[in-house]
């Protein structure tokens, strides 16, 4: 039943794992300089778009109008997509105070977003910056603003925008996002010496991109598509389902990797003699992008109709292939491990 294979040769195993990238490499810091700069650009864009959202929310609530409401939705989407572009960065200043979770609390199987909103809007206490600070990550980010702007049941109720308290919450949370965006960009700038000066951050950066791709493939696409777990399709298991932005957000994530991660990563692969692989990764990321803008649409109708579901399957396959090239081929060639235990945290 179980085959035992005895190797006559060595009892000694000199190297049990591929040597990690942190092995002495004079030019290693150059790669990180480039990564630092590219990610900085992404964070600055997030800061700018977040501030624009805060400004627009304030403008809208000062003089509400249909047009202003639509402009606020657009400002939310622009800022949310700016976040998607840098969402893969899971180390460094974004770890402070759970900033990543503050920007986007997800997944939310218990619908804490709606529960927290209901609670806050019912409360008599003023919605101050302090109140938002102490209300937890489900209140502090893009999903809460999305709820106020897009949730169907909420928008049909008496507290729909521009009701006073809802406006207070909209402006308060948008300001919180803007403050976090600015602080994150500044802190990333300050992080430069630590990042460039420590070889381990090369591995860390690659692992971050791998985790981002896996999250995209498995939890943001496969799970709502019913390819995992109970096999049922459910848009509620996607992120940004209220705004219908799940797929355009997926696209932004791949775009972010193309801008902030791949330029340096592909150079690294080329320098290590894996030019073919680098070329295939570049092509595959373009294959994903080629699905857009056709797939810039809500996920729910695609899940409901088998014919349209094929479009989603096609996107999934392309994302899956990109993930396989980066996580299973390139990372392995470079000796970067993202393991069953190492990514567990216990």
């Amino acid at each position: 039943m179980k085959r035992l294979t005895l190797f006559l040769s060595l009892c000694l195993v000199s190297s049990l794992a591929a040597s990690p990238l942190m092995a002495a490499d004079a030019s290693n810091s150059d790669y990180r300089k480039q990564w630092h700069s590219d990610i900085y650009t992404g964070y600055q864009n997030l800061a700018t778009q977040s501030q624009a959202l805060a400004n627009q929310a304030k403008t809208y609530c000062q003089a509400p109008s249909e047009e202003g409401f639509e402009q606020t939705k657009q400002a939310w989407l622009d800022a949310f997509l700016a976040w998607q572009q840098v969402r893969f960065v899971d180390f460094g200043p974004v770890e402070q105070g759970n900033r990543a979770w503050q920007f986007q609390f997800w997944p939310d199987p218990k619908n804490l977003i709606a529960r927290k909103a209901t609670y806050l809007l019912k409360d008599e206490v003023a919605i101050t910056p302090e109140k938002i600070n102490e209300s937890g990550v489900a209140v502090q980010g893009f999903p809460m603003v999305e709820y106020l702007l897009y949730d169907q049941a909420f928008n049909e109720g008496s507290k729909a925008l521009p009701a006073d308290r809802s406006c207070e919450l909209l402006v308060g949370v948008s300001n919180h996002i803007a403050d976090n965006g600015e602080a994150l960009a500044n802190d990333w700038g300050d992080f430069k010496n630590s990042y460039v000066g420590n070889d381990q951050y090369t591995d860390t950066t690659i692992r971050a991109a791998m985790a981002g791709l896996e999250l995209l493939e498995e939890r943001r696409l496969a799970t709502p598509m019913g390819l995992r777990g109970n096999g049922k399709r459910s848009v509620y298991r996607a992120d940004a389902w209220r705004s219908g932005a799940s797929l355009v957000a997926a696209n932004a994530t791949v775009q972010g990797l193309q801008r902030q991660f791949l330029p340096t990563f592909l150079k690294l692969l080329n320098d290590r003699g894996h030019a073919d692989l680098a070329g295939r990764i570049e092509e595959q990321s373009e294959e994903v992008q080629a699905k857009f803008p056709e797939l810039d649409r809500p996920m729910a109708p695609l899940l409901a109709d088998d014919n349209q579901f094929r479009m989603l399957q096609s996107l999934y396959v392309h994302v899956s292939q990109l993930t396989a090239l980066v996580n299973d081929r390139a990372a392995v060639e470079l000796g970067v491990v993202r393991g069953f235990n190492s990514s567990d945290g216990d």
Partner: protein, 366 residues
């Protein structure tokens, strides 16, 4: 079209290969603890994405695999009985009681309302009482739950830890004192595994009387973000605590502490070794037959053995995703990895890969 997924391709490749490959040395060595069963039991991830608890015999044969509802973490053997327990991974809603000869499930005991287990437990020396750390998650209070195995694992007591985030527990050789790693990190099942209190965490090594629940001692690490997660104790009563650092990745704090002769001290392995440990220790095991202690870091992909008195590293190996450690008869250690490897490591000889299997060994072997 799940058949097109990357993972299923890998799994197909795995399934096609030999389930077990023993390399080099054909027989796994005996475990050092003579009273436990001569088999290695661990939580495993299977190629099809499901989870089980599995036991292998010293000849490398998988004795049994018992399917479980969700990923498990660690467990303990029940002294005097052919039972092995495994806890669901944090937030653990249950533990499984399995027949250690056959893997047959005897019980699945659910956590009490408002509580979850954290992956570890230990028995009283006579095998009657189970002590399992748990989290009372609404108030974020760490507790030690006590179950009576002779009454079908009925809950009989609860001890307060006066702190947050307990993790591993073990029993002092005096048979009376529980040793608990209090990680200090506040989590809540509604918030995934988000760490909610990194600025204010208060980790500690806690000693507790197992009869009264009285806290006998509490030792704090040198920095408040050194989450004190894993613990072990040598036969002479020397206690070891292993940390997981929650601060910036490029900082190099101490990762292991030793309590001996009334002194709690942290061990510095030196800059280059610390760099290889990734600020994260998944297991610490003191060898019952000698002065050696082994630790494993899946984040750093490094396992090492050090002298418990001097703190000097005597052997070190790069083992991708290594986490589980078990003491072997004769003085060496066995290290398991998330890539299905079992590696023997000890003093004065290079690490030796003993087996490679198509399973993912989860954090701990018992």
């Amino acid at each position: 079209m799940p058949e097109l997924t990357r993972r299923s391709l890998i799994m197909a490749a795995l399934a096609g290969s030999a389930a077990v490959t023993l390399t080099g040395c054909s027989i796994l060595p005996r475990k050092a603890s003579s009273d436990g069963p001569q088999q290695y039991t661990g939580a495993i991830g299977l190629p099809d994405g499901s989870f089980a608890v599995g036991a292998i015999a010293p000849d490398g044969k998988m004795l049994w695999q018992s399917p479980v509802n969700t990923r498990c973490h660690s467990g303990c053997n029940r002294p005097g009985k052919a039972e092995v327990l495994f806890f669901e991974r944090r937030p653990g809603w249950a533990f499984y009681v399995l027949n250690s000869n056959t893997g047959t499930r005897l019980h699945r005991i659910e956590a009490a309302e408002g509580e979850h287990f954290v992956g570890h437990g230990v028995f009283s020396p006579n095998g009657r009482f189970l002590y399992a750390p748990a989290n009372r998650y609404e108030p974020g209070e760490g507790i030690v739950t006590v179950y009576d195995s002779q009454q079908g694992y009925q809950r009989i007591n609860t001890f307060e830890l006066n702190g947050t985030g307990p993790h591993q527990i073990t029993l002092h050789p005096d048979g009376q004192t529980l040793i608990i790693g209090l990680g200090g990190i506040l989590t809540h099942p509604d918030y995934d595994r988000i760490k909610l209190n990194l600025d204010t965490m208060k980790p500690a090594l806690v000693l507790m009387d197992r009869h009264s629940g009285q806290i006998l001692a509490r030792f704090r690490p040198s920095q408040h973000q050194l989450s004190t997660r894993h613990v072990d104790v040598a036969p002479d009563g020397t206690i070891f605590a292993a940390y997981q650092y929650q601060g910036p990745a490029h900082e190099r704090p101490p990762l292991v502490a030793r309590y001996r002769n009334g002194r709690y001290e942290e061990i510095d392995f030196g800059e280059s070794v610390h760099r290889e440990l990734g600020n994260y220790i998944a297991s610490v095991v003191a060898h019952p037959e000698n002065d050696l202690v082994a630790i494993a870091s899946p984040v750093g992909g490094t396992a090492l053995v050090f002298n418990s008195r001097s703190g000097r590293v005597v052997e070190k190996a790069a083992i991708a995703d290594c986490a589980g450690v078990e003491a072997l008869a004769g003085g060496d250690f066995l290290v398991s990895s998330g890539r299905g490897k079992l590696v023997r490591i000890g003093k004065g000889q290079p690490a030796t890969e003993i087996a490679s299997m198509s399973v993912q060994w989860d954090h701990h072997l018992v």
